[in-house]
Each structure stands twice: as structure tokens, then as C-alpha cells.
Subunit: 341 residues, 2 copies
């Protein structure tokens, strides 16, 4: 592919003039400019990224680091929603996105590699799991432009964007109560796993229950499992019959859980919403499950991704900008799965 030099030769000027034309700098006679442009067109010249990057230190590329992986089906609708927003912001600001396939199982995985190689100007961490401590330390110390999405690493120099999961958990529980339910179960995550979002939702649930009943939540009403459908199903099979009185509503910490809970109801001989109400969280399945339509909570994923990228790019351009902490609200979406009693 053609280089500046070749264009220069064809146009009968020096390569620096080509550079000037390409970058729309002044100080080029109109006729020269035209000649250069013609040569560019003729040779199909395109400025090479590497030369530019080497020189300027800028890549016009941001990295997305995440322990979450692309999956098939629903698995990673969260990551996809965030990426959608990042993409929009990057489109507006002429940036590309670099995905570096790394997995935590890798003994020597290093989320920051793309930055260390100067392949990207900054990074967005989409953290369904917590960001590793050493990573936080290094990012803070070396002032690496970075924005965390979906977690709140209270750490200097780390900007983050999150939704108010605790509040959403609280308000959802309140809403279920107001619909007339007095025994409300929560379906969360096994303690072997950790997920900040889910933990926050549970905290909100507990807080609401405390306020509403004057007592701490009955632990028999807090159901738990791993991430699998079968795990959820067996947890419900076990936990439901043990509850006394039986819950009339289950607040599920994710839509996937809500679906799995829904699927196990027939064998327990109960129906939704006649016998039990179900509320989910995420909004991923709103368009898919429609009988009953699912009451859930929706996070503004695209908006979050977009803000993350915008903040990151601001940081990159002006390193002294103060870090940002943004909490997005979660929107409740009503559905038939939540019935009045």
C-alpha cells in the first residue's frame, strides 16, 4: 500500500507536504494541495496507523477488559448492552474498540496487556466480578485511564459507573409488598460465587423487609443457587416446601433466575401469577416471555456503556480531569407475573 513518500513522489513534492494536506494544515498552496490530493486518490493512499501512533502516542482505540465472555443465547446480554453503548460513543468520537481475549483461568492473564503494549489509550472494565486488587492498585498508581462499569471500586483515580442495585432491590420489595404480598422470598447467589450487583439487590431486599416487618428477613425465604438453570430449579424444589408460611412472591435477582423459577413451578403444583408472583431483574427477556409477561427491572445498559466510554475518552484527552462516579437508576417494568392479592 502506498506511503506518504510515494504520494509525494507522484505529486512532485516532499512527503511533509503530503502530511500537511492529509492533516488539513494550512500553508499549502491551493494548486499543490490539489495535486497531492489527486496523487492520493490515484494511489489509494491511506495514512498508516502505526506511524502515526508511534509518533503521537495516541491509538484512537480503547480496550474493553472483562472477565465476562461472549456467550451464545442470553448468557451475556449484559456485556452486549454495555458494548452497544460503548460502540455508540466510539462512533461519535472516531474511536475503535479492542477486545483482547483473555481468561482468568489463564495462569498469566493480564487484563492490562493491551495498554502496556500501547495498543489502546485506555480501558473500560466491565466487571460482573470484582476487579482484582492488584489491578486497581496499578491503575491508580500509574494513572492509567480507566473506567469501571458495574462495580464501585472506591479507589482514587478510578472512575466508575454503576446502577443503584440496592435501591432497586429495596424499591422492588416495597412494590411487591404494596401489591399485597406479605411473605416474599428472594432468590440470590450461592456464597461460593460473588456478584456485586446481586449482593446489592439482596441488601436492598433485606433492608425493605426489616423496615416493613420490623424484623430481619427469615433466612428460609432467602434462596440461593449457582448460575445454572438446574441449580436454580433444585434450590426451589428444596427451599419452597420448607417455608412456613409459603411465600406468595419471589423476587429473583436476575431474569435468568426468574425463568428458571418459573419453569419449576408446575412440578410444585403452583402457578404464576395465581399462586405465586415472580419479579425478575435485568429486562433481558421482556420480549420473549409473555405468558405471563414478566415484571422486572431494567438497567440502562447502553446509556451506561456510552457514558463509560465518554468519560474514558475525556480522561484520555485531559488526564487531570477529576474521576467520576455515576449511579444510574434502575427502572421497574411491570408485568402480569406480579399479581395483586
Amino acid at each position: 500500500m502506498a506511503t506518504q513518500k510515494e504520494v509525494a513522489k507522484l505529486a512532485g513534492v516532499s512527503f511533509i507536504t503530503v502530511s500537511r494536506v492529509v492533516n488539513n494544515e494550512g500553508n499549502v498552496k491551493e494548486e499543490t494541495r490539489r495535486r497531492v490530493q489527486e496523487a492520493i486518490r490515484q494511489l489509494g493512499y491511506f495514512p498508516s496507523h502505526a506511524g502515526k501512533a508511534l509518533n503521537s502516542g495516541r491509538n484512537n482505540t480503547i480496550g474493553v477488559m472483562t472477565p465476562a465472555r461472549f456467550g451464545e443465547g442470553m448468557e451475556n446480554a449484559y456485556l452486549m448492552g454495555i458494548l452497544r453503548g460503548i460502540e455508540l460513543a466510539c462512533h461519535d468520537r472516531d474511536q475503535d474498540i479492542l477486545l483482547s481475549p483473555m481468561s482468568e483461568e489463564d495462569p498469566e492473564f493480564d487484563f492490562l496487556r493491551p495498554y502496556r503494549q500501547k495498543k489502546v489509550d485506555g480501558m473500560i472494565y466491565v466487571g460482573l466480578k470484582k476487579m482484582p486488587g492488584e489491578l486497581r492498585g496499578e491503575i491508580a498508581e500509574r494513572l492509567i485511564p480507566c473506567v469501571v462499569v458495574g462495580d464501585r471500586p472506591e479507589y482514587d483515580h478510578l472512575s466508575w459507573i454503576d446502577t443503584d442495585n440496592e435501591r432497586a432491590g429495596y424499591e422492588t420489595t416495597m412494590r411487591i409488598w404494596e401489591a399485597g404480598h406479605r411473605v416474599i422470598a428472594f432468590h440470590g447467589l450461592d456464597p461460593d460465587f460473588f456478584n456485586a450487583n446481586i449482593a446489592d439487590r439482596e441488601r436492598g431486599y433485606r433492608k425493605a423487609i426489616r423496615e416493613l416487618t420490623g424484623k430481619d428477613a427469615d433466612e428460609r425465604l432467602v434462596w440461593r443457587s449457582d448460575y445454572t438453570r438446574s441449580g436454580v430449579q433444585s434450590s426451589v424444589r428444596e427451599a419452597y416446601p420448607r417455608c412456613d408460611p409459603r411465600p406468595t412472591a419471589v423476587f429473583c435477582s436476575t431474569d435468568n433466575r426468574a425463568i428458571a423459577v418459573l419453569s419449576v413451578l408446575p412440578e410444585l403444583g403452583i402457578r404464576c401469577p395465581q399462586d405465586i408472583s415472580i419479579v425478575g431483574f435485568d429486562g433481558f427477556i421482556r420480549d420473549i416471555v409473555f405468558e405471563p409477561s414478566m415484571a422486572t427491572n431494567e438497567q440502562p445498559l447502553a446509556e451506561m456503556g456510552r457514558r463509560a466510554a465518554d468519560i474514558l475518552l475525556d480522561h484520555i484527552e485531559k488526564p487531570d480531569l477529576p474521576r467520576r462516579e455515576i449511579v444510574f437508576p434502575v427502572a421497574f417494568v411491570d408485568g402480569e407475573s406480579l399479581a395483586k392479592r
Copy 2:
């Protein structure tokens, strides 16, 4: 961040020795190597990508170009599945993935930009729509390493990977027939749109019907709409009552369509699977819709993405390799939505 030069200074050697150590070349005394490594560690040196790329012409990055965008919810489970596979291959072969946010609405969008800038070594086109003709021409002419996924641009130098949609459409129709159905509708796409996959599935349907009945398919049984749920719904509302006799099964060209069809049944006073069977295509909702569980067809998306990336990387490494054309089989997944009669 430290450079080779600084490391060299600290270790008391010349920068070329640092390069040798970093690249594990021979001809370095063990003691020198150790000294250099210590200096590298101390300074946290990491080879810069730009310098290397400028020199070698290789970026160790492949681009993914696609008119499909990341979406929220189900919208782009297809793209996500493919990306998953690309990611796996790239992980194995130490490559990164570049996403360049471009949209066709953009007057001056140019899918090849990242390649022209030498930001990537090759590209994968994930084509739910057909690849624009000029693009195909340029790629072929300039021998740009490129693999097309989900379409078959019969063109020199263009490798592609696709699933056998026509055969899947044919076999699915056969299967529905074998289940005892004699009036089988097909739900496809409005002619205003084009989607090679869906068109192929329809072709398979028509072929099977011709073989089975000795006649061309009854056009009243070929339903069509745009991509929206409400579009699908109203198409069914209109088309179903006009059929005489009424179909006992609908072969939907995508799962999204199947869901939408399912959702409109109540108002038509028919139930699935008792009154009408439904078969989908894609397998995206297998884990979500379970009453009835959906009979569908699954494409091996991750495997496809993986092969695409592998082929692309082979092409990049050995430009003279012949182009590849790979057809993956589609797997039928049985479900309660397809009932015997």
C-alpha cells in the same frame, strides 16, 4: 513508560541486546540476559506495539466488520455467538479483535478503514446482509485477507463460512410432515428486506413441499413480515384466517418469529401445540421458552466463528493458501411445540 533504550541503559548494554532478550533470540550470554531481565522487571518495560507493527507490518489484530450491531436483549445473539468463537480462536493464537463502530447510514462509512490504516491484518465480515459489491471487488482485487460468515459471496479469493440453511429448511419441513402435518405454513421475511439465511430456509421449505405434495407451495401458506414483533403478529392475524384449510404447523424462519407467532395465538383462539405446531430456527431461546419447549434448529455459531478466525489467520500467515468454503450443518432440536398428529 520505559522503552528499550532505557532498559538498555539500566542494564548497561545496547538496545539491540534488549530486543534479543525480549524475543528470546539466541546469542546472549546467560549473565547478560539475567541483567537485562532484571532491568525490564525493574522498569516494568513492555514492548510497544506501534514500533513492532511499523517494523513488521503485522498487528496481531483482526477486525470484525459487520452491519449488524450489538443490541440489547436478543437482538444480536447471532453476532454474539460468532464473536464468541472468534474470541476463542484469537485467544489460542494470541490475537486481538478490533471492532470499528461504523454504520451503513453513515454517508462515508468504510468497512475496510481499519485495514487501510493497517490497524488490522485482516477482517471477518459477519454478514446478515449481503456484503456490498464494491467491497467484494476491492477485497478480491487487492488480496485483502478476509473471511465472510453467514453468506456465500461466490467470488475469487473470498473465503466464506455458512450453514446449510436450505438443507435445514428442507429437512425441517420433512420432519414436520413426518410428524403427521399436511398443511405447513412458513413464516419468512418481507421482500423489502433481504436476508440470505432466511431466503435459503424458504427455498428448502418450498423444495420439500414440492417433493411431498407434487405441487408448488400454496402462496397463502407463505407468511411474511418485517423484523418486528408487531409486524409478525399482524401478519399472522391476517394470513391465518385466509388459509383454507388452516395450517396445523408453522415453520418459522427464526426463533424471534416463532416467539412472536406464539404470542399471537391466544387472540386467534388456538393453542400450541394442541391446535398448531411451531418450529423455530436459531436455538437462541431454547433456555428461555419452555412451555411449550420450542422445537428449533441450532447453528454451531461459536464453531463457525472459530473456524472463520482460524482460516483468516492462516490466510494472513500464508497469503497463497487457497480460499476456503465451509458449510456447517444445522442441528434440529426437538421440542414440545412440534406435536405429532
